[in-house]
């Protein structure tokens, strides 16, 4: 690690885009990084909005849990190589228990042998404690009245990650940070950028945005046969971005993998989950891609250029999760002659049996089930046809578990009391989480780095 500005390029590979992503993804990314000159970092993004609330619930049941459940499976195949060859690892796999994750990583490293890693933990995102809970609830306003809170976490930025790397961390474990900050942190540390070099931070932010969904920029979640053909999708590669000292980047993918990186896969991911392209808000910077361009830069390589940055917001976003009743679902299938008519009749039966239980959604899988709205306007518009393979699905939210259970029982009763030939009943009942968000002044949220001993 060096505190002077480096001119060697920075290579950031992404080995996960969500909790539960493929655990064999990291191997080819690390093998490719091993062939690259320059500074090299491997990131894991495993923390979707709800994942953190689920982790908080897991920790309530088991104080040792609450971090990414697949942590060991994700890291063990590459940890030794990363430590031996100076590939830093940054991941938000700490979720609701970053110290627990650090402990597990230490155990995995010990079992693999070799030198012990320096593990840094970034804390400070959890604002659910007594000191700030009142402030958060106050800012949520009347919407929070009477809710049972599960978690409240602020989105931290890249500065603490950068500080941990500058202080010599081999591995940085975080909880809630903005996804692109996993990439911006290493870039700040490597190039010695300051926190107000907005264009550079914005460039790295959009590089991070391209990386943060893993395979999604390499032809994953892209294929549409005849329109968008992707080679060897079953072996789709994960991305690596080369970030230059100005924040520009070239994105490519791991060697020897399937998938593809071209201008179109990059544009799709660039706009993914963006609203105003001139104002992509993160804790680090407001990124602006309104003047950005993407250009072919070789086989499976695309250059992103021209991202601009504006000063970061004075506030940090806080996501609050709360208990939110029950989701009940039930399904039953009809096939052959008159299948659609029988499924529609079964739907009418459920509608009558569950009258008074609150809003009920009914889908005819194989006729119309996805584009439609919960109120059923779309389905009502579809003329009755003669589909021969139809699965009826019923779904309901309810605060009362007993009512939710009734839906499951009514769908099951269609076996003996419903139309002829219904089969394959499945029912599912699960607790729902609701979410609210608010903004907190930065001064109220202190990100800290703690080295795990």
């Amino acid at each position: 690690v060096t505190t002077t500005t480096s001119t060697r390029s920075l290579h950031v590979g992404a080995a996960a885009g969500f909790s539960g992503d493929r655990t064999d993804a990291a191997r080819s990314v690390v093998d490719t990084l091993l062939c690259r000159d320059g500074a090299r970092v491997l990131i894991f993004e495993t923390l979707a909005e709800r994942t953190l609330a689920l982790a908080q619930l897991a920790r309530r049941h088991d104080p040792a849990a609450g971090f990414e459940p697949l942590l060991e499976e994700m890291l063990a195949p590459v940890l030794r190589d990363c430590l031996d060859h100076g590939i830093r690892i940054v991941g938000n796999f700490g979720a609701a228990n970053p110290h627990g994750a650090a402990k597990r990583i230490q155990e995995v490293a010990r079992a693999l042998g070799g030198r012990a890693p320096r593990i840094a933990v970034v804390v400070g995102d959890d604002v659910s404690g007594d000191d700030r809970r009142g402030e958060v609830i106050g800012r949520l306003g009347p919407a929070a009245d009477g809710l049972k809170l599960v978690s409240a976490n602020a989105y931290l930025g890249a500065a603490a990650i950068a500080a941990a790397l500058r202080d010599g961390a081999d591995i940085v474990v975080t909880g809630r940070v903005a996804d692109p900050s996993l990439t911006v942190g290493p870039a700040m540390a490597h190039y010695g950028w300051h926190e107000d070099e907005w264009d550079r931070l914005a460039g790295a932010t959009m590089a991070g945005h391209l990386l943060e969904c893993g395979a999604q920029v390499c032809g994953g979640y892209y294929a549409d046969p005849g329109f968008k053909d992707v080679p060897a999708l079953a072996r789709v590669g994960y991305p690596i971005a080369e970030i230059d000292a100005g924040g520009g980047c070239v994105v490519g993918k791991a060697n020897g993998t399937g998938g593809c990186v071209d201008e179109h896969t990059v544009k799709e991911q660039l706009l993914y989950e963006l609203h105003d392209p001139a104002a992509y808000l993160t804790p680090d910077v407001v990124a602006d891609i309104s003047q950005a361009t993407v250009a072919h830069a070789g086989p499976d390589r695309v250059r992103l250029h021209g991202v601009r940055g504006h000063p970061r917001p004075p506030t940090l976003k806080v996501n609050v999760f709360h208990e939110h009743g029950w989701l009940a679902e039930g399904e039953i299938s009809y096939a052959g002659h008159g299948a659609e008519a029988r499924a529609r009749l079964a739907a009418e039966v459920l509608r009558e049996r569950l009258a008074g239980c609150g809003p009920l959604r009914l889908d005819l899988v194989g006729v119309a089930s996805i584009f439609g709205d919960d109120a059923g306007r779309w389905l009502a518009r579809q003329a009755e046809g003669d589909a021969r393979d139809v699965r009826l699905r019923a779904a309901m939210n309810h605060a009362d578990l007993a009512v939710a259970q009734r839906l499951a029982r009514e769908v099951t009763a269609l076996y003996t009391c419903g139309p002829a030939g219904g089969g394959g009943v499945r029912t599912n009942l699960r607790a729902r989480l609701g979410t609210l968000s608010c903004l907190l002044p930065r001064e109220m949220v202190q990100a800290r780095v703690e080295f795990f001993e």
Binding site: E49, R50, Y221, Y222, D224, G226, F227, K228, H264, K267, E268, Q269, L270, L271, Y272, E273, L274, H275, D276, P277, A278, I289, S290, Q291, A292, T293, V294, G306, H324, L327, P359, R361, D363, V365, S369, I370, F371, G372, D373, D374, R377, W378, R381, R393, A395, M396, N397, R432, L433, G434, T435, S437
Partner: protein, 124 residues
């Protein structure tokens, strides 16, 4: 030659691709032209009003379109179309991931001269 002869009406899917994302009860759907020359007819025809009408059953409270001419792309932001989003929706696809394909069903009139840039043209 009449105007009809010089124009081809195709699903938007032949001229553009896109991806849907969600944040809460808001969906964003990108529309990216397959070729720079297709961008102009797409911008002219796939307007906020057209998209709002196409998604009317989902009761959007606001549809906003952002243009990215250097990328030959547009980004639609549709407010309140996800029945509450991933925490509340009863839809199997509570994220609205499939909604890009609903948008790409819209018809688009394209001059015949641009036909070579279209993907997977339906047989006439």
């Amino acid at each position: 030659m009449t105007a009809a002869d010089s124009t081809l009406v195709v699903p938007l899917r032949c001229a553009a691709h896109g991806r849907a994302g969600d944040k809460g009860n808001r969906s964003n759907i990108s529309v990216i032209a397959w070729h720079p020359d297709l961008y102009e007819p797409i911008v002219r025809q796939i307007t906020e009003d057209v998209v709002a009408g196409h998604f009317a059953h989902r009761r959007p409270t606001r549809v906003e379109r952002h243009l990215l001419p250097l990328l030959h792309a547009m980004n639609f932001v549709l407010d309140d179309v996800l029945d509450g989003g991933v925490n509340d929706s009863l839809n199997l696809d509570s994220h609205g991931k499939a909604l890009s394909f609903l948008l790409l069903d819209l018809p688009l009139a394209v001059p015949l001269s641009l036909a070579p840039h279209l993907k997977n043209l339906p047989r006439r």
